[in-house]
């Protein structure tokens, strides 16, 4: 199967510090991929380059067979990439409905209202559509972000630590939601919660010091001595 997203030799330096170094990465359509690694491993820098928030120092990015390395973020989004922020970034003074409508309106001329209702219902926020987004709890703002991602009907959804701040019950609902979405969308998930990674991901990529340390199924990655040394042994032992 040809990859929906690939990188070749992707790297980024910040003032001499190599945050990401020579990453070759391939994501298949329909796949749920987790991206893990210790803090500072370059995960957010890596996905920021994928979506176009920061420019790579070197290397190339391909989406759906075409090179997108030089495209600005909004053009990549139009091609079918969607991104949810690590730090929630909703339109705090607008209603939930308008937040999601802004996400839906770019691709839809008609049926925006229906798409908004559906996206909000899928994350369980339909009842609160009229409320102001800034009044939501942190966890609910994260769900709103996901609803905004869904409303774009992307072919690739990049989620940067989506379960941060969610309660256990919400995490269970989140897992079910991601499985459902993955039927139509490739998902790239930066995640610290190991239970989410192990249960959801088809494959896991481990970044360490900006380089790919290991890649494989959750079980393979978990069994890798290098990964245990770098990451699992210290952070996810419990």
């Amino acid at each position: 199967m040809t990859a929906i997203l690939s990188t070749r030799g992707l790297g980024r330096s910040f003032a001499g510090l190599r945050a990401v170094n020579a990453v070759d990465f391939d994501l298949s359509p329909g796949e749920i991929r987790a991206l893990i690694g210790p803090n500072g491993a370059g995960k957010t820098t890596f996905v920021s380059m994928l979506i176009g928030r920061i420019a790579p120092s070197e290397g190339r990015i391909f989406f759906d067979g075409a090179e997108v390395t030089a495209l600005p973020a909004h053009r990549r989004v139009r091609l079918g990439m969607a991104y949810t922020f690590q730090i929630t970034s909703v339109f705090g003074r607008l209603s939930l409905r308008e937040n999601v409508a802004l996400a839906a309106r770019r691709r839809l001329r008609r049926g925006v209202d229906a798409a908004v209702e559906e996206a909000l219902a899928r994350v369980g926020l339909a009842e609160r559509a009229g409320e102001v987004a800034g009044d939501l709890s942190y966890g609910h703002q994260r769900l709103l972000e996901i609803a905004m991602g869904l409303a774009q009907a992307p072919r690739l959804l990049i989620l940067d630590e989506p379960t941060q701040g969610l309660a256990d019950s919400e995490i269970a609902a989140f897992k079910a939601l991601i499985r459902e979405i993955s039927a139509t969308t490739a998902i790239l998930l930066i995640e610290h919660n190991m239970s989410v990674v192990m249960e959801l991901a088809d494959r896991v990529t481990v970044l360490n010091f900006g380089e790919v340390l290991a890649e494989g199924t959750p079980a393979e990655v978990q069994a890798s001595p290098a990964v245990q040394a770098a990451y699992l042994g210290t952070e996810a032992a419990g």
Binding site: I51, R53, P72, A73, H74, R75, V77, R78, A82, Y83, F85, S89, V90, F91, G92, R93, L94, E98, A101, L102, A103, R105, R106, R107, M148, Q152
Partner: protein, 311 residues
């Protein structure tokens, strides 16, 4: 939706009724306020809705004014065509200034727009052969005739001002109700997020600057033609600050705010200067009080207390 248009239509109807009721002095003031409110409406599109603070809007106002006044003065162009030329001139100037100034943001954007406006002001003075320099251009009454209506007479002038204001008011309401208008609000709230929803935020901001310049041009061209004077004083930094104050007072990000602010400020200056020669002090104190106790302006307070969904 319908209610929005009803309320704003009601304001226009009230202004039409006022045409028959107002005493001569206030009738004249109101005509001026309505034209200047078009300027404020344009400023509000950029500042109140898109979140971009420009300190150079006098340039767009003056571009409209000179764009209309110079053809009338130099070539004897009629007021209709001259008005169109003024609006076009302001639109083009705004497009060019926007394309350059939008490479910056925040304070830098304020400074760059201010510098463009100052350069424009100095250019007007330097090109005095055509612009009249600091004397400006007086447009003769004989030239201010449109379809044999004397635009310099008080009645037609008021009605022409009302038409300009009505068109600008409804256009701004329609704009902010439209998909594009919603994106402008999204940019004001969180530009990065808007970009990552796939919106070309640079292009949208450029559209906002350009449209804002068009409104300013309507006001500038209208003011020059209706009141018969085109002067460099309208290109000074003072005329970049006025629309900011009008919009802040009236309520940034509300459709009615620009008009309310312009009206309020005009009468505030007028009343205070009747009472004391230190009228600017009075104006200053009122501005400070309003900022402290009604930070959303008059329109913001109306929205908070009376009508939460006010556009």
């Amino acid at each position: 939706m319908r209610r929005d248009y009803l309320v704003h239509g009601a304001l226009l109807a009230a202004l039409l009724v006022a045409h028959f009721l107002l005493p001569a002095y206030h009738h004249g003031v109101m005509a001026r306020v309505m034209v200047l409110a078009c300027f404020a409406i344009g400023y509000n599109v950029l500042f109140g809705y898109t979140g971009l603070l420009s300190l150079g809007h006098a340039l767009f106002f003056a571009a409209g004014m000179y764009g209309a006044g110079m053809p009338m003065h130099l070539w004897g162009t009629g007021p209709g065509a001259a008005f169109a030329m003024g609006v076009l001139a302001a639109t083009l100037v705004a497009l060019v200034v926007g394309a350059l100034a939008l490479r910056t943001a925040g304070v830098a954007f304020m400074i760059v727009t201010l510098m463009f406006a100052q350069a424009g002001y100095l250019a007007l003075l330097l090109a005095s052969r055509w612009t009249g320099g600091d004397q400006g251009i007086v447009i003769a009454q004989a030239q201010r005739q449109l379809w044999s209506i004397d635009l310099s007479a008080e009645g037609p002038r008021y009605l022409a001002a009302l038409v300009l204001f009505g068109v600008c008011l409804i256009a701004s309401l329609a704009l902010m109700r439209s998909r594009r208008g919603r994106v402008l609000i999204a940019i004001r709230e969180n530009e990065e997020r808007a970009r990552l929803l796939g919106y070309d935020t640079f292009a949208m901001k450029l559209m906002a600057v350009t449209l804002s310049g068009t409104f300013a041009g309507v006001a500038g061209a209208g003011y020059g033609i209706l009141f018969g004077y085109v002067g460099a004083s309208f290109a000074t930094v003072q005329y970049s600050i006025y629309p900011l104050l009008w919009v802040l007072l009236g309520g940034a990000g509300t459709i009615l705010g620009p008009f309310l602010g312009t009206l309020f400020m005009y009468y505030l200056v007028d009343t205070a200067s009747d009472l004391t020669s230190a009228y600017l002090l009075v104006v200053g104190v009122v501005l400070i009080l309003l900022t402290l106790f009604a930070p959303g302006g008059i329109g913001g307070e109306l929205r908070r207390r009376l009508w939460r969904a006010m556009p």
